[in-house]
């Protein structure tokens, strides 16, 4: 059972004299992602979504509260303890390694034996439809292909949980749309617990079982919405569109409050 539980998570950034101001980024965040559930964290830029993911991944330290993965507490610096697949906004591939060797790197870091690397990487490369590009270097691939490699890498380690930080926001809409659908196909075959961060409400509606809407400064969960539309979901489904409209209206009203506009 790989569920993620966030309890009373707060993050206070200490001010630095010459750079960042003191900032309460997250305030008493509480939510759960159930086993094999696809949850989207939806919020505007700067609301602390990425900080939340970083804390779960063990890259940053929470000020108070705790993160539990699979009912075990996950602390700062614990990165080796859980199998976490992470897909970043940029592909973050090692440029001096080929596509398949980038995946081998992740497998080796996770302790898979060398004899398995070839089989596993070719399986996932095929799954993200990059067969034939195993020996290509990242700079020879398009942005979408690099991101597919990154997705293959994250899935290949058979992670307990999958964290995705706006993975498609750096791509053009057509590529992003194709990748969203591919992601759901892959996820259907390899059901994992997913926490997907985005600022795109339609993307969240299309992908998620549940959407958690975050406000910012400080980051809090404002609302939780269950997306009841059955899978497989059609991109052009009008029910999806209507659902999304309702969310967006709400989203804009409470998240970008009049306060923001008054201060302009």
């Amino acid at each position: 059972m790989a569920e993620i539980e966030i309890r009373n998570l707060s993050k206070q950034f200490q001010g630095h004299k010459h750079s960042s101001p003191e900032l309460l980024a997250l305030e008493r965040l509480n939510f759960t992602v159930n086993d094999k559930e696809f949850v989207c964290l939806l919020g505007p830029s700067g609301c602390g979504k990425s900080t939340t993911l970083n804390i779960i991944a063990g890259l940053e330290e929470a000020t108070t509260g705790e993160v539990l993965i699979d009912r075990q507490v996950c602390r700062y610096g614990d990165h080796g303890k859980f199998r976490i697949g992470y897909v970043f906004q940029e592909p973050r591939l090692l440029p001096w390694l080929t596509v398949e060797k980038n995946i081998h790197f992740a497998l080796e870091s996770q302790g898979f034996s060398a004899s398995q690397w070839e089989t596993i990487s070719s399986q996932y490369i095929k799954m993200v439809r990059l067969k034939g590009f195993e020996k290509s270097y990242p700079h020879q691939l398009s942005g979408g292909m690099q991101q597919r490699t990154s997705i293959a890498r994250a899935f290949s380690i058979e992670p307990d949980i999958l964290l995705m930080d706006e993975p498609f926001s750096g791509l053009d809409e057509i590529t992003a749309r194709a990748l969203r659908q591919e992601l759901l196909l892959i996820w259907k075959q390899n059901q994992k617990t997913v926490l997907f961060v985005t600022h795109n409400a339609f993307e969240a509606t299309f992908l998620a079982d549940r959407i958690l809407i975050m406000t910012r400064c400080p980051g809090r969960i404002y609302k939780e919405i269950r997306v009841d539309i059955p899978r497989p979901r059609d991109y052009d489904n009008s029910a999806l569109f209507e659902f999304n409209r309702a969310i967006v209206k709400d989203f804009i009203k409470f998240v970008c409050s009049d306060e923001d506009f008054k201060n302009l």
């Binding site: 890259l59 990165h79 992470y86 940029e90 090692l94 440029p95 390694l97 790197f105 870091s109 996770q110």
Partner: protein, 260 residues
């Protein structure tokens, strides 16, 4: 596809180099006609001298001596430079402690290190290699230090999240990023080392190419001086083209070309 384009480029690069070499020899020849041969001997006189030098048994002995000093000095200074430079780049505490001293070390002339080494350790091989290594080490350190600070922290983050150990992070993520800096330090270091070795040999030793250069210079035999220098230069070019360029190509095949 990468390979055939590369092959054509290398052919063109080779042709350009050959052309520039020929121009250089021609210019030398013309200048030597205008200046007395006691000051600047011509290419032909130098070539005859090179023949004489190679024929004599002495050459290989002195050349071997110099090469040993250069290679051992290079190995020591590179190893030390990489270790210290990396520590300075990765840990702020080390950087703050050492940055001033490395700069001081850089500005002290090789001659001063040589004199001190010869005084402390006598006219020995150890003194020579010590002086050579200490002179070169600060430049390599600064180069590696800069390279380590330049690395992509996002890739380090990625490797941490995927569970790579500290050792793996260093060898698989940090090191590949500083390889271009290592090649730069290698070339730069080699340049300094050749110069310092010759000085050390002139000052305090009784063997080596530098010693021979000094010997012939004192006899005012310029063809010999030119001859020894020419062999020296040819060997250095050989080293660069055959060894360093090959290694570099193999290690940096993944780099995209810059189209400015």
């Amino acid at each position: 596809m990468l390979k055939s384009r590369e092959g054509a480029e290398r052919y063109r690069a080779g042709r350009t180099k050959l052309l520039s070499f020929i121009v250089l020899i021609l210019t030398w020849w013309i200048v030597s006609l205008l200046v007395p041969s006691t000051i600047i001997p011509g290419p032909w006189a130098t070539a005859k001298c090179i023949g004489k030098i190679l024929a004599s048994g002495d050459f290989f002995f002195h050349f071997y001596k110099t090469m040993v000093r250069v290679l051992v000095g290079l190995a020591c200074s590179m190893l030390l430079g990489i270790i210290v430079g990396t520590l300075m780049g990765l840990y702020q505490s080390v950087e703050k402690a050492l940055d001033l001293w490395i700069m001081v070390g850089l500005t002290i002339p090789g001659l001063v290190y040589t004199i001190f080494a010869l005084m402390w350790f006598g006219l020995t091989e150890f003194a020579a290699i010590f002086a050579i290594s200490i002179t070169t080490f600060p430049s390599i350190t600064i180069n590696v230090w800069g390279g380590v600070k330049d690395i992509d922290t996002k890739l380090i983050e990625m490797s941490k999240i995927f569970g790579a150990s500290k050792k793996k992070r260093f060898f698989s993520v940090v090191l590949p990023q500083i390889i271009p800096y290592l090649f730069a330090s290698l070339r730069f270091g080699l340049g300094i080392i050749w110069k310092v070795t010759v000085i050390v040999e002139m000052l305090g030793l009784s063997s080596g190419v530098g010693y021979m250069l000094n010997y012939w210079f004192n006899l005012y035999n310029m063809p010999q001086v030119f001859g020894w220098s020419a062999i020296f230069i040819i060997f250095m070019l050989f080293f660069e083209l055959i060894l360093i360029k090959r290694l570099e190509r193999r290690f940096l095949v993944w780099r995209p070309r810059i189209r400015f």
